[in-house]
Symmetry: C2
Subunit: 352 residues, 2 copies
Amino acid sequence: MFDPGMPPNEKTVSRLSEFGLIERLVSVFDRNFRPEGEPLDGLALVLGNGDDAAAWEGPAGATVFTCDAMVDGSHFDLSYSTPADVGWRSMVSCQSDIAAMGFHPTYSTVSLGLTGTESPDLLDDLYTGMAQACSRFGGRVVGGDVVRSGTMFISVAMVGAASHGVGETAARPMTRSGAKPGDVIALTGPLGGSAGGLKLLMSGPVPGGPSGQGATLVQAHRRPEPAVTTGVWLAANGVACASDISDGLTADLGRVCRASGAAAVIRLAEVPVEPALRAVFPNDWVDLALGGGEGYQLLFTASAEVVEAARAAYPAITPIGKVVAGEPQVTVLDENDEQVKPGITGFEHFST
Amino acid sequence: MFDPGMPPNEKTVSRLSEFGLIERLVSVFDRNFRPEGEPLDGLALVLGNGDDAAAWEGPAGATVFTCDAMVDGSHFDLSYSTPADVGWRSMVSCQSDIAAMGFHPTYSTVSLGLTGTESPDLLDDLYTGMAQACSRFGGRVVGGDVVRSGTMFISVAMVGAASHGVGETAARPMTRSGAKPGDVIALTGPLGGSAGGLKLLMSGPVPGGPSGQGATLVQAHRRPEPAVTTGVWLAANGVACASDISDGLTADLGRVCRASGAAAVIRLAEVPVEPALRAVFPNDWVDLALGGGEGYQLLFTASAEVVEAARAAYPAITPIGKVVAGEPQVTVLDENDEQVKPGITGFEHFST
């Protein structure tokens, strides 16, 4: 319910109590939460927001747990994303981590840092976007914390379950360390859409307005889609190694190589690229596809037979190379078997 | 392990990669983690930090989930708390939420917002303090995220389990809504130490130096102790209603009244107060004891018989009043049965 103490002409959140604000926001979430997938029948929520902690009852099995924070000016910019887009992306970044384990997103908490100048409408839109992402890809916001901060931030923590809890076999989580020489490396879909969209947004008004190929890229940035269904299928069908692509293909595949003690050789010509990206950025598309993050496709490695079976179930799955024995590194070959050196090698927040 | 790419004379974290930094910090945690209580044998960690998410295997039963964020300048101040104190308090605030449910803290993720000017030593100390609190009161940091932010923040999310997973009966979580007219209201220990310590620290050098009654209060602020053991005992022995005192007795008891649809009458003379508080603040001790937060005692309500049994097990437990029928409100009576109106009514971050 809305905080009854809030005056109707409230312009900023600074006069709301912390408890009133959380109650309001979780209620906005609940009103906009219309789950499309299977319900979490085996993980019944006992207590939602409003107590010291949320609580649920669940079956035995594996649980996964991740967190991701987004900071105003660094991970989002309200001058070219709507608050609902930011809310959507804050959930997707954790849903994608859980998809990369092959699990179902279940419950989330949100710590929100506010300067106090935000309007209640902005925050309602933020939580509406969160509810849209959870309705579509699973999970639910069950608690939170609001604090005053000089910089606005959104910190999401999310728990995931191996199954919905009713009659499914619990899968083992897929890890970054499971790649073996001889494995095929594959992607769940095309790269570069989100990075291209961000580049367009940062450079000013989008050419072609709300339609056209620029708009396709912008939409990929504003509303990325985590590969939850595909990830769950992969884990259930014997894939042991996966990672999401949150920091760029070369960066995330490099981490898989280091964790697995193996090398990767991929062929640029095989890497699926968002078609609009080549059209809009004829000179930069290679860097954007190999180095761009936040598209949230998964990369995984498995035997050729398992990759073929996965591809039969999810036709967007595309093999791009092989795991080979050797020092951990990623080699990208062009059509002449020569090494490509992309200018962007993945986003690392604390690099120089 | 330490990030091999870090130069030995590194003065700030800004040249570390995000992955190198998280790896370093979780390794600092692990080196300083020496669990004192029962191990979480039934909740075996399958994957710690370093993958898309952490993972563990657990038995069927209830899970609780909470989060709390602390922001530099608002929730902590490194000019009068050490980084290890701040790390300790960041864990305790979640451990206390889980204690208030009657559960055991199990696993945590930490989202860290850094300006980039922090020294690696400061961050090592922060995670050492986290490890000390987890060693003492349970739980473990299993993942995290580091982002750049104009304001430093620490956002902790924590999961708790009803039992250690081996041969214990899973308790039902205690809630704020379980208070019934006729229940006795009790506290797990004395109030006001942390608030008194903070007031001393904010007013300059602590009188009496590192010893004496001022030092007792300062220690209570820097190293508060969550009532985990007591909380677990209460839930296992039939207490249905509890809350931690994170925002002050009157504020947190007020929430219990609203959630339960009942009123509370407490007697000031019965409220246990940290002895050093009365000595150091002869004029302000009532406001500090009733309104001061972050002391992390629990308040709970139960039948007189259950409270007596609890008191036999934990002698610091003290009855302070009764739940009565009526509109939700907290009445504090003095020795003449007259109403006390404390100046401080609890900390609400977004109030005017």
